[in-house]
Amino acid sequence: MKPTRILGPLAVAGLLVAGGVLPMASHSSTHAARLSGPVKGGTMIDGLYEEPDRLIPNTSSMTYAVNVDTTLFSPLFYTDNKGVLFAGLAADIPTVANGQISKDLKTYTFKLRPGLLWSDGQPLDARDVDYSWKTWVNKDLIINTNVGLAQIKSTTVSADNLSITFHLSAPSISFVADWADQYFPMPAHILSSMTAKQLNTSKFTFQPTVDSGPFIIQSRKPGDNITEVPNPHYYQPGKPYLSKLIFRIIPDQVAITNALSAHEIDASWFLDVSQANTLEHISGYTYVPGLAPNVEQGLLNLKNPILQDVRVRQALEYGLNRQAMAADVWHGAIPLASDEMPSLFSFDPSIKPYPYDPVKAGQLLDAAGWKMGADGRRHKNGKTLSLRYSTTARNNWRAQDELIALTDYQQLGIDLRIINYPADTYFGSILPSGQYDIGEFENNAYYDPDISIYNAFASSQVPPHGGNWGWYINPTYDKLIAQEESTADQSQRKVIFSKMQQVMHDQLPSLWYYDPPNIYEYSNSLHNYMPGPYSGECWNTQDWYKS
């Protein structure tokens, strides 16, 4: 049974898709047409940069844990390598037109395919979905996120156990998108005997023994590898094609490059651009700077009075040679960011990135009262224009970004102090507590732009309530968010998103650098390896095969 898709014309005609981002596939052969002829058998070895921690779905924030989870558990909905939404375990994608979403956006019904089985042969149905979300909202369980789940008031499972209806406390435009690629149903018949606390320390979280994905774990050697073999009850007949999938843990980017160069692994994803010169020239392999909904930004801490003047923020954007970052650091042309990723449906191409114009930057600073002194620094009311620039430590390309920023801002008369931190400390402590002035990091969009990139600047998300780490408060912007979240009309949402994009462009609560790709490399003997922008590396391991 092939994954069900929504017909393109219906989608374009205004079919309401909660959380729909891009048009869905127009007909059933489009998805299949992207695949080439498969060959059964073979072993594929994938190099993983980090060892996954918890493998119970939605209990880990690690990208690599989610990747491995995607091979073990099937989602209700998923996106492919182009970001097109498909139904997975679900029979179809809920819409208002097919009656699975209420007009007030407060009731959602997910229908599951009949005849689904777990890898141990037990039935997989709506009761597992019901068990899963209730477990994820249990405060005793360590989870990655509860986005979309907190608003579930109650659920109803149908008599045949094939559908589950969610009753939400407030309208939600993105409820289906919340479930795409991340909320994988868990086996209630195995896990319900444990409390949430027991789940945290169970053997199952380290090595799931029952799952619904294309593979099951045969063995796991800590720090070394995870070996998987086909799931005999996978819902897509005849798949997966590989007879063995091995994740080899290689905790160093240079070591991954070495393993690829020596042809010891077949593929690796999320590679470091500093290795590009070598990666691009490995014979028998293909190097891909893949499409990714990422934006590299320099978030501005608006608690600092210096940065509360929009002229200063605009000067920082004009005065930073982001073209040099894109060209020199990323080895070629990657798009400059205008605050939104081109891959999102809401992207407005008429809003252009700021050009590099240090003269204009200087004029803006002069107008804001920051005059150049004899010491080569700008001063105002006896104060020096001095800013802390922070990012993650031990990151080669961000170090190069910082050198460019240091040089450019020094020429503008800005005293830039660079203070970097380990990634865990930076995201866990420094950004949320505002111990920075310009904080560089990569933001990622999800299937619906509302989920991350725009909500990150809502005033309701100011710490400790959320991830608005720049303390940006703009009532006009908040109103636009509320408008966009209250309608399922995609064309209307696109107009509102355009206005929001304009606000981000004009007000600059963050500096917008460029859209970095997700770099990956794979052996030419490996087929159908095509990581997705939202779904990651392993969304289609059932289709991989080796020649």
């Binding site: 918890r54 360590i142 989870i143 509860n146 380290f206 050697k221 240079v254 020596a262 010891e264 865990d424």
Partner: protein
């Protein structure tokens, strides 16, 4: 001797207690706890607080320490914050890998360093001695990561003679030959640094001993030179080397993080580094205490060996 050992072991208990308190305090001085660094940035503040309570991190530090100590006394080191598995299992999974890598490296280093040190001392100021000196200083001062990467570049990537890393070839049945094949490069890297430093120590102490009067007397009595060097000089020159080797031996429990990272070797060094990054306190405390125990134990063993090497040394 038995009384001495028992006394040393009893003395070690308060010492380890003080060390554990110091380590616990130092660990909590590191900025950012696991609730800040390990948990998902997308968690709400309430969810983060719930996790803190679930892991017992909301309790005062002395209470946390006492609970940890009580567990440790019962050999219950708790569960890791990272994947919730028992700490003792997590460390136990990696310990054999580190013992294999470092144990073989130590053995190789001893087998090479001892003859080198003896020859360099006996042939002092000869070409062999100068060559040995240059190689020793190269080994001592060469960065491990650079040496490892050069070996991988030339022997693995360019010539495909050895694998770039890992313990065994993935996807194939495990075999002794395959394991040895994977051990060659990391053992070469680790043992080179030990050989360089141990052989220098032995050379120095041999030079001190070789000029002693009793050795001249032994030669005058007609003993062959090799017997004088190996039976009389070497045994007396061994004591300083025992001290150094004993301290280095205790590092098995700390692993070799650089070598393990470059060669993707799943040992204790990488485990410690990963746990430090994610503030996995239970793993860190267990590993640091194990390291402290191994240092104490190795020092006791070294003291015992002194007694065997030098009959003048007596313990009461």
């Amino acid at each position: 001797m038995g009384t001495y050992i028992a006394r040393r072991l009893l003395q070690a208990i308060p010492l380890l207690l003080v060390i554990s308190i110091a380590l616990f305090g130092l660990l909590h001085l590191i900025p950012g706890g696991p609730e800040q660094v390990a948990f998902s940035p997308r968690m709400s503040e309430q969810a983060r607080h719930d996790m803190v309570v679930a892991l017992g991190l909301d309790q005062p530090l002395p209470i946390q320490y006492v609970k940890w100590l009580w567990g440790m006394v019962h050999f219950d080191f708790g569960n890791t914050f990272k994947d919730g598995q028992p700490v003792i299992t997590t460390i136990g999974d990696r310990l054999p890998n580190s013992l294999e890598l470092l144990g073989i490296s130590f053995l190789v280093a001893l087998l090479v360093a001892i003859p080198l040190g003896i020859i360099a001392a006996v042939k002092q100021y000869s070409i062999i001695d100068y060559l040995f000196t240059v190689l020793s200083y190269t080994g001592i001062s060469m960065p491990v990561f650079w040496f490892a990467e050069m070996l991988v570049l030339f022997l693995s990537i360019q010539h495909n003679w050895f694998p770039t890393g890992d313990m065994q070839t993935e996807g194939q049945p495990s075999s002794f030959i395959d394991s040895v094949h994977h051990l060659v490069l990391p053992v070469l890297v680790l043992s080179f640094a030990f050989i360089a430093s141990w052989s220098r120590y032995l050379r120095s102490s041999m030079l001190e001993v070789l000029h002693q009067d009793y050795l001249r007397t032994a030669r005058a009595k007609g003993l062959r030179r090799i017997r004088v060097v190996l039976k009389h000089a070497f045994r007396n020159a061994l004591i300083p080397l025992v001290t150094v080797v004993a301290l280095d031996l205790s590092s098995i429990f700390g692993g070799a993080v650089i070598t393990e990272t470059i060669f993707s070797w799943p040992g204790l060094g990488r485990l410690f580094f990963d746990s430090l990054e994610s503030r996995d306190y239970p793993v860190l405390m267990a590993m640091m205490v194990l390291s402290a125990v191994s240092v104490v134990a190795c020092n006791i063993i070294a003291d015992i060996i002194y007694g065997f090497l030098d009959p003048r040394i007596r313990y009461s």
